[in-house]
Subunit: 334 residues, 2 copies
């Protein structure tokens, strides 16, 4: 296998490590990679409050290596990165709300953890492709839409600040150590296998849980605020496509649907997928209003110019599939 | 005393905390503040490899409270921030070279340390003015000069990435918690009281040490690369002026001389100040070349528009004063 910057990578036989691989995006990447005959290793700490769930991996449990471990463990990281061709880094504290309540914990996982992985690769495997899961939260308050990668970093959360630092680390290891790194700024992901124990992750999935439990969906404000909801299977395909595309090293790409959907339209689609669901409207709670960033729509020009990836799943279709998934498997997720 | 955003602060009787206050910039701030009858407390860890030196404080030793302690100590920080009117945060790992060799140590001091101070203030003193020492290293490779505050963050060091995170924290605590924070991006500081045990800090001071020891000064490349050298007494005045100026909360300002001096001209001035000094020219060493950022000159428009501060000291005058200082006190610094 050649270095990724020189030639296309085929997944057949490739050794792939996924940190946070028991979470909703990582597990989708794993499933797609296994289907293409990659040798997949997953490291996930399965921290109780976060997204890791062994059920996410049950269809491929016999075809992967699973290690319960933490990206903050330098000895473990030094060992597991060896010999990998591609490393997808999705481990993390993923709630911006929690990051603001406990900035030092977010720092520990989202900066120290990812620096630990990068240092492990610097010392033990400089040839791997490294793909980092960043977030639209680096942009914070939005100055214009659609948002391209040059938009200012008006971070409105500790989570966003640490994701920005993570991207900068990735670029630094590319510049300074010739490592093959790339970052993806994820819009609002949703879909099967997201954890749904509390409301702090994706709002689409949380609405689906509320609807399935017969509870009303609450819209803050007038519900006109637009979001870019990206189905997590599409997202997993974006990660794999970028990892296989030469010329992406050192770069940062937005990944989303490229479509802005008003919040109330998303709620309407969830309600339509679960007949009998009520939608109610309330004022913005003060703590949420602070992190309301304004409309967000990804400009995907950079990604779609560099790669063959395109979003495939409409929000309606994605919500319907997600509802079907949780109707069957809700006991595993809440 | 009123909140700083509402009215000018006078220093007489003001309670001022300086973290890293035994270092070259902090000790100058302390001296100026004591002269204006402020009540000054200094916290400095006096870590052996860093800039803290009790000799820096000897003229004011009986007029300040000194605490040997680390900004990474939450209990200490919770105690010392209470009742302070202004907190200058200069503690840090300050070598970009070391930051690249040991990114996790830089993270620990420059991110965890400063987040610990901010969290201590959030819980124990939300009224203080907080002034953060950031750095031109957030800009990394320079796209244009003079460099204004909107220049992209092309960070070329872990140090620069963590300073950027620090600035973003300061802005976040302003936005989210209504705290009165401001950051200064420092150009190339030099002057009396800088530590000179090794070459990893300021090059002007290192050249002065070499000259005083009768050693030649080495210029990398053609010596035309421009830097913005700022005398540390001018810098201390900038910190105090910004702290006393309403309307600066939430902002970031460049601070430098506003003048670009070719490297070889700086060397010539040092050689002139220490008669008999030789200047020699060599190729760029590979490890230094990576972090060579291109010419750097601060655009001071934002700072000089917002405040009355102006740089006062020419490079020639500053070098002469610095040489005179170290001729007398070199035993304390190397």
């Amino acid at each position: 296998m050649e270095v990724a910057t020189i030639t296309n990578i085929t997944l057949e036989g490739a050794r792939i490590l996924i940190t946070g691989g028991a979470g909703m995006i990582g597990s989708h990447i794993a499933q797609l990679a296994v289907a293409q005959k990659a040798k997949v290793t997953i490291v996930d700490a399965l921290l109780p409050l976060y997204g890791g769930n062994l059920f996410d991996l049950q269809e491929i449990a016999t075809q992967i290596d699973f290690i319960q471990g933490d990206i903050r463990d330098p000895a473990l990281m030094a060992r597991v990165v060896q010999g990998q061709d591609i490393i997808f880094n999705l481990a993390g504290q993923v709630s911006y709300v929690d990051s603001n309540l406990d900035p030092l914990l977010d720092l520990d996982i989202n900066c120290r953890g990812h620096l630990t992985v990068l240092e492990a690769c610097r010392h033990n495997n400089r040839r791997a492709r490294l793909v980092f899961a960043s977030s639209r939260f680096v942009y914070g308050s939005i100055d214009y839409t659609p948002v391209d990668e040059n938009h200012p970093f008006n971070c409105r959360s500790i989570y966003g600040i640490h994701k920005l630092a993570g991207e900068k680390y990735y670029r630094f290891y590319y510049d300074a150590h010739g490592m093959d790194t790339v970052s993806l700024r994820i819009a609002n992901p949703y879909g099967p296998k997201q954890q749904m124990k509390h409301s702090k992750y994706g709002i689409v999935n949380w609405f689906i849980r509320l609807a399935l439990e017969g509870k009303p969906l609450t819209i803050f404000g007038n519900g006109e605020q637009k979001r870019d909801y990206i189905y997590n299977q599409d997202l997993a395909e974006a990660f794999l496509t970028v990892a296989q595309t030469p010329g992406t090293a050192g770069e940062v790409y937005n990944v989303g649907s490229g479509t802005g959907t008003p919040f109330k339209e998303m709620a309407r689609l969830v309600a339509a997928a679960v007949p009998g669901t009520q939608v109610v409207q309330v004022e913005w709670p003060a703590d949420r209003y602070f992190v309301e960033t304004g409309d967000y729509i990804s400009d995907l020009t950079k990604l779609t110019t560099a790669t063959t990836w395109r979003p495939q799943t409409t929000l309606e279709e994605g919500i319907n599939r997600t509802v079907a998934f949780y109707r069957e498997h809700w006991q595993q997720y809440w």
